[in-house]
Amino acid sequence: MVNLTKGWTLLLSAACMATLLLGLAVVWVSIERTNLVYGLRKMEHKMTELESHTSKLLVERDNLVSPYRLRQLAAEYGLAPAATGQIRRLEVRGE
């Protein structure tokens, strides 16, 4: 009778301990999850900023290589479109 009571007491104690530990674990996981979310939010903001910046750089690059600008630069350097008879074609023969 005494042993039975002891067993139940131990079981009850173990269950309480387990419950406590599980509860702590749940709280810890939740806190970690929230911290991760904050970290993700910062990274998302950073990524959005970088994407926006990249987008503007792409537009700037296309503007720099636009035909009108290239024509101005070509005129500055004395270049012009090839006319008839100005193109020399070279044949590349295999060894």
Partner: protein, 681 residues
């Protein structure tokens, strides 16, 4: 009977209570004593029980009865909704080069009731935005709780505003549409407004396709109100707008715009247009208009500037219509290429109206009617054809109907039903009057000739794919070949389109100098000059249409538009690496003529004898540049040895004019002495 001091349960120290039998003693009053402890116990139990029940009842009330409502209130506290607007889709050319893109940009607004120090806020904003304080203060004059201070500001200005951290001043992200090539294809692409909604051109026509979508996400938020995306749930929806890819080629577009700009400014024209079409596919490679329009600054222009002339404006085509009438006549066996027509010496009366030619002609064959562009000849063919058949061909060619391109506001032009034609109209339609067309319709009709009689649809957009119209055979290949030959004679022989000729390539085309209707009735002195042609004539690959409205002082299509056609064609072929090759002698003569014209004053003082290469004899290269001299010798199969320093040949061996001997072709014996100025020192 219990006596005082005795009780039922007697507790002695160290011993368990044992029941003692009650000893009856004689007493004076027989009273009974109740055990109240049980009642006390029961009472407490009842009270506790009731409290317990109350607790359970309260729990039931909170959890079950008010539970959903309270859960909703809790959700409102820790959840929030966020609206996300997708980015507008991009526009590309056929090679994937960017034509239009939306970028994120900041706008500044103020909540006036939250401002603590208005003066300081205005000062900071004035420095950041570059606007006077007075102007900013005026905007705050309204009672609105939300006041825009500046829309779509630069990143540096936004950073200054953000760093200032002024209460009541906020930044918000918007999208701004940018066109990196500025006014390239400006009228065609159109523009979108502040709210990223397409207003003109392809931006308007494809607004639904390009526009980003809006989505509402339910997200968690923390105590400070910051939104947290705990997972990707709810964000799987792609809110970004879709891209479109055009058939345009940016480089060919630029070439067309450049040539057009030169023509319009040289001839003080009201406007000009140039279309370049790939014959086999119907793909429009260039859609050029002048004066140009830059959609980045659309607010600075009047609506007439962004008007899409190619699709909207109609004009009487004039002589450009003649090839179709002639082809129809030949198809219906009304005439052949060699049929002769009397051209009335320049004046022909039809139903009391007079039809005139620019130059008086007597008898002309159908070939020459096209070559010399005789109105009277064309009118007679049209009259012979009859209004019903003539209408049928023109209608099937696409006149009087839209081309099917995905554009808003495209005009149908005017081609009245044949039942309403009078005799004079049948005659005048033969040379392109009494009918109104767009540039697109003309291009599509000439595309039919270029495809040997098969009418194909024009294409402007590669992606998304539009359902193409069916192809339709209108003329037989034999008839079209004859007509193409006539059109090539317009350019290659003594026709009106000589200025469109390209060495090494056969071009076919037709000039037109069409009178414009006068507002007061009849025809005025304003014209629309045009040249529409394609090359190579044998199997056309590219079609180019050049239209110039009201050129002055010259107004003939062959003078105004044909040179622009030639320039666009040459530069397009140069870009594609397909410039025509000339025979060596002809190429040399041509190059020498051009080089002679471009030489500087210093070079022109040098002996500039240009020596033709005679077969079997040693060429004379003295005075030529070393590069040129080596090329000439290489053409003869000889690689000469170079001696001395300089860029020009001062002396050569063997001597020029001497017949080649085999031993002379040895590089050791073939020597060029160089000097800086081509003269022997």
């Amino acid at each position: 009977m219990r006596t005082k001091g005795e009780s039922k349960l007697q507790l002695r120290k160290g011993s368990t209570p044992k029941r003692t039998k009650a000893v009856k003693t004689k007493t004076s009053s027989p009273q009974r004593n109740y055990d109240w402890s049980w009642f006390r116990l029961a009472g407490v139990s009842i009270v506790l029980g009731l409290l317990w029940l109350a607790l359970w009842g309260r729990a039931y009330h909170v959890q079950v009865m008010r539970g959903p409502k309270l859960a909703g209130m809790a959700s409102k506290q820790h959840q929030s909704s966020e609206f996300v607007n997708g980015e507008r889709g991009q526009i590309f050319d056929s090679k994937g080069r960017l034509l239009a893109k939306s970028v994120e940009i900041q706008s500044v607004y103020i909540r006036p009731h939250e401002l603590e120090d208005q003066v300081k806020a205005l000062q900071v904003l004035s420095e950041a935005l570059g606007s006077p304080v007075k102007d900013l203060k005026e905007k705050l004059g309204t009672r609105s709780g939300h006041v825009w201070m500046a829309r779509q500001i630069g990143d540096q200005a936004a950073a200054k505003v953000k760093d200032a951290k002024i209460k009541g001043v906020y930044l918000t992200t918007e999208y701004m549409r940018l066109y990196p090539n500025k006014h390239l294809a400006g009228q065609l692409i159109g523009f979108s407004g502040l709210d990223d909604h397409g207003l003109e051109g392809l931006e308007a026509a494809f607004n639904e396709h390009l526009a980003g979508k809006s989505a509402q996400y339910i997200v968690q938020r923390d105590a400070s109100g910051s939104k947290l995306f705990l997972d990707s749930e709810g964000r799987e929806v792609d809110v970004r707008g879709k891209d479109i890819r055009l058939t345009l080629d940016t480089n060919i577009q630029f070439v067309a715009e450049e040539a057009l700009s030169k023509t319009v400014s040289t001839y003080n024209a009201r406007w000009g247009a140039c279309l370049v079409v790939e014959v086999d596919t119907g793909n429009i490679l260039a859609w050029a208009e002048n004066p140009p329009f830059n959609p980045n600054n659309y607010k600075k222009y009047s609506p007439s500037r962004w008007r899409n002339h190619i699709a909207i404006d109609t004009f009487e085509p004039g002589s450009s219509m003649k090839p179709f009438v002639v082809a129809a006549g030949m198809q219906e066996a009304v005439c052949t290429a060699d049929s002769m027509y009397y051209c009335e010496n320049g004046k022909f009366t039809v139903a009391k109206k007079v039809v005139r030619d620019v130059h008086p002609y007597d008898q002309l064959s159908v070939r020459k009617i096209v070559r010399y562009s005789s109105n009277i000849g064309a009118a007679k063919i049209a009259l012979q054809l009859g209004r019903t058949r003539l209408y049928s061909y023109l209608n099937r060619l696409g006149f009087g109907d839209r081309t099917g391109l995905p554009l808003t506001g495209e005009s149908r032009g005017v081609l009245r039903p044949p039942g309403s034609w009078e005799e004079i109209e049948t005659a005048t339609i033969g040379f392109g009057q009494a009918v109104s067309v767009t540039v697109l319709q003309m291009a599509k009709a000439y595309l039919c000739l270029a495809n040997f009689g098969v009418s194909k649809p024009l294409r402007l957009v590669l992606d998304p794919i539009n359902e193409n119209q069916a192809e339709l055979r209108i003329y037989s290949p034999q008839v079209v070949k004859e007509v193409l030959t006539m059109l090539s004679e317009v350019v290659e022989l003594d026709g009106t389109g000589k200025r469109a000729k390209i060495d090494g390539l056969r071009v076919a085309g037709k000039t037109s100098t069409a009178q414009k209707a006068s507002p007061t009735g009849g025809y005025g002195d304003k014209v629309v000059a045009s040249f529409i042609g394609f090359f190579p004539m044998e199997k056309p690959e590219y079609l180019i249409a050049v239209i110039v409205d009201e050129p002055e002082p010259e107004h003939y299509g062959g003078v105004v538009a044909a040179p622009a056609f030639r320039e666009v064609a040459l530069k397009t072929l140069s870009y594609l690496g397909r410039l025509p090759e000339l025979p060596l002698q002809a190429a040399e003569e041509k190059q020498n003529r051009e080089a002679a014209a471009q030489r500087t004053e210093v070079e022109s003082k040098r002996d500039t004898r240009v020596r033709l290469v005679e077969k079997g004899k040693v060429p004379d290269v003295v005075g030529l540049s070393v590069r040129r001299a080596v090329e000439v010798f290489a053409g003869q199969g000889v690689v000469p040895t170079l001696k001395g320093e300089g860029m020009f040949v001062a002396k050569q061996a063997p001597m020029p004019g001497k017949p080649w001997a085999e031993q002379d072709k040895d590089s050791q014996k073939c020597i060029l002495w160089l000097s800086p100025n081509g003269k022997q020192s």
